[in-house]
């Protein structure tokens, strides 16, 4: 009777969210840093905004540029160039901030420019070559092949969690 009915409704609701997640499957937002093209899973991305005024916070690692005000929400921004130990580059009108949500935290990534949203099916995704641990910093989770191009797929969790280890290391 009633209760059964409600269960059905709940099931339907569940189904619809699953469908929604399905459409995001295998889809990646790609952006460029210098010559390389990177991708992050679209399900993490909430929006892309142009570069805006960043408030610096003292005593943060250099790659953490500070915080921005996104419609009343304060979110930290990270310069991915510096994070990957590349030469910092002056921000211009192509520079973008990719805002993504992970574990209830919002964070902005400053990138040179945003390219496009691509579908890369699972068979086109391969593991990165096993390298000496010194070279392999682990930010690249997988490598996707699109035509002749190669997209480096980022591990978002790693991008954030890594610094905590560093901080603890420094504290010791």
């Amino acid at each position: 009777m009633k209760i059964r009915n409600e269960e059905n409704m709940a099931n339907i609701a569940d189904d619809s969210t699953e469908v929604e997640e399905d459409t995001q499957k295998d889809r990646f937002l790609t952006f460029t840093l210098g010559k390389e093209c990177y991708g992050i899973e679209i399900k993490y991305v909430t929006e892309i905004i142009g570069i805006q005024a960043i408030t610096e916070i003292p005593e943060l690692p250099p790659y953490m540029k500070g915080i921005i005000n996104l419609r009343g929400k304060i979110i930290p921004v990270m310069d991915v160039r510096i994070r990957f130990k590349k030469e910092p580059k002056e921000y211009n009108d192509r520079t973008c901030i990719i805002v993504f949500d992970i574990d209830d935290m919002s964070i902005g990534l400053i990138v040179d420019s945003v390219a496009e949203v691509l579908t890369i099916s699972e068979e086109d995704i391969v593991d990165p070559p096993k390298m000496n641990s010194i070279f392999n910093n682990g930010y690249i989770k997988k490598i996707g092949k699109v035509g002749n191009d190669v997209k480096l797929l980022l591990d978002c969790e790693k991008l954030l969690s890594e610094n905590e280890l560093e901080t603890i290391g420094e504290a010791l």
Binding site: K2, T55, P58, L60, I68, I74, M105, T167
Partner: protein
Amino acid sequence: MSDQYTNEPLLDMFLFETSQLIEQLEQSVLISEQENCFTEDAINEIFRIMHTIKGSAAMMMFDNIASLAHAMEDLFFYLRKENPKEIDCSAISDLVLEGVDFIKNEVNKIQNNDLVDGNSDTLINKINECLNNLKQINITSLNETISLDETIPLNEIKPIDKTDVLNDLYIAKGTKYNNEFKAIIHFDDDCEMENIHAFSVINKLKKITSEFSYIPADIIDCDESIEVIRNEGFQIYLKSDESYENISNFFMRTIFLKELELVQFKNEDEQKPSCKNNQVLAQKCPIKLANAGDTVKIKNEQIEKETSSSTAQQSIISVNVAKLDKLMDLVGEMVIAETMVLRNPDLQGLELSNFKKSANQLTKITTEIQDIVMSVRMVPLSITFNKMHRIVRDMCKKLDKEVQLEIIGSETEVDKNIIEHISDPLMHLVRNAIDHGIDTDEERQQKGKPIAGVVTLEAKNVGSDVLIIVKDDGMGLNRSKILKKAKENNLIYKDEDDMSDNEVFNLILLPGFSTNDKVTEFSGRGVGMDVVAKNIESVGGTVSIESIEDKGTTITMKIPLTLAIIDGMNIKIGDSCYTIPTMSIKEFFKPNEDDIFTDPDGNEMIMVRGQCYQIRRLHEMYKANVSTTDFSDGILIMVEQNDKIACLFADELLGQQQVVVKSLPKYIQSFKKTKGLAGCTLLGDGSISLILDVSNIFSF
């Protein structure tokens, strides 16, 4: 089986209601215990609470809670009815409190979506034992009238299990049952929501038989069914192989049962008209389409009914805290948006008298809204304070001390967020006061103090702060003991003789300090006062200690009324804007170069009106790029925190503004290097300003 029928709004209501009732119950039990007798009012109240909990728990099918509540209800039913002279008040209190703890535990489990598996049988047996003892002691006054109500709910579960097994057999046999019954159930007059109770009867009935019909038919969907059940009783026609006695027993277990008519039919003919009757009645209630929206509506109506019965007494509704937080955020946004509009650069230099008038009106209203929203979030401290009664009671029993808890000013209100932060420290302080503070009975006699120690909890408003004072009349703090202990732990950094009493007492707030030699159940693990101090500091408060040996100790917590909106002074350091809480600013001035001097270590100091203060250069502390570091180009801001004073050197003052405090993003906080910052705020132009944490400036 419980989870099969849980539906969120009802469950929420149940959890909320039950935990409130339990708290109320705890209070009245403690008061009764103190007076060493159960007054009529108290017994009635406890009985009523147990009755309500029993009803709602049974409705939600938490049988262990329901049966426990039932047992306690029986006990108090007896007390109410017989009013026996010889009662062991503290034993009953112990029992009830044990029951309270059990229910609290179960409610917690429900909240965490854990399996509600607590077994209340032993407790129920204890209660029944107690009840029987009581009856024996007061045998003279024993009547027959209560015999019916004394059915021990323990056996509620077993017969059902048995029939459960039998049930399968019946189905295998086919639908032919031998016996037919008609039952009319009347519920208690004040039990409310008769339809829900009827529904749970039907649910249980399903286990016994599959052939039955009932009037009114759509008990859950149709509100009029309540009236029908109330007036005419709930009629059930069923076929079963069970004997008359078994069926009768089954119905007798119904919660809130007032009257039961059970008739056994001889043949099928008599049931047929009843089916017709059923349809007629069912048509009277318009049959609604069974969709989800409908259920929601009905649930709402149920909740409304529940609240409306309580609104008769007090016009209070419960609101989700998350909604209040959201509202608070929105008001904060609105305050910012308002300044954005009113101080819009486009308006500069324009003479707009009408605009100004309207703008003033707007400002007035927003300030008012802000005040109201703040006051909505204010909660009196009484709930937190009253929780301490239980702690005092338990500790007195364990430690064999006699301690009275006095509460003053519990109506003082503070922000909900702050309450959450102070309840743990408060508990700790009360425990400390009883465990370490109050001396033993013999010691008290020797010192000529009354045997019963007194712990006083006091709250009062002082300006924009609230003072919470925990005072005991125990042995006080021992200066030399503290010094000795501090030396052992290398906590002393200056000459002992130079330290004032206050400085010595504040040593106990340092991490890793505990003077109690033995670790007891309640306190003395060396993590104590420093955690208290840290908790209080995290909400921007301070802790101070006063003590007189043999007279007692007073610990004062000073906490701000609210965290969300503060008066702030915006200053400029390099390119960035910082905000200092106006509260901690004493004065600001352009320094005179002649007054500034430097000691050999390079520390800069300034002489102001014969007093010497240290100077902290903010641009050095916050690593800002500034064009000039000349004192004559900037400004000095004198700040005070915890009786410590320092002068901060900034580039320029930007002006005062009410700011909405936002915490730094979690991710930034994870770097743990931002200790000089209390948070951030949005300025009128949408840019971000960082709020200085003045208390941390001194520890830089």
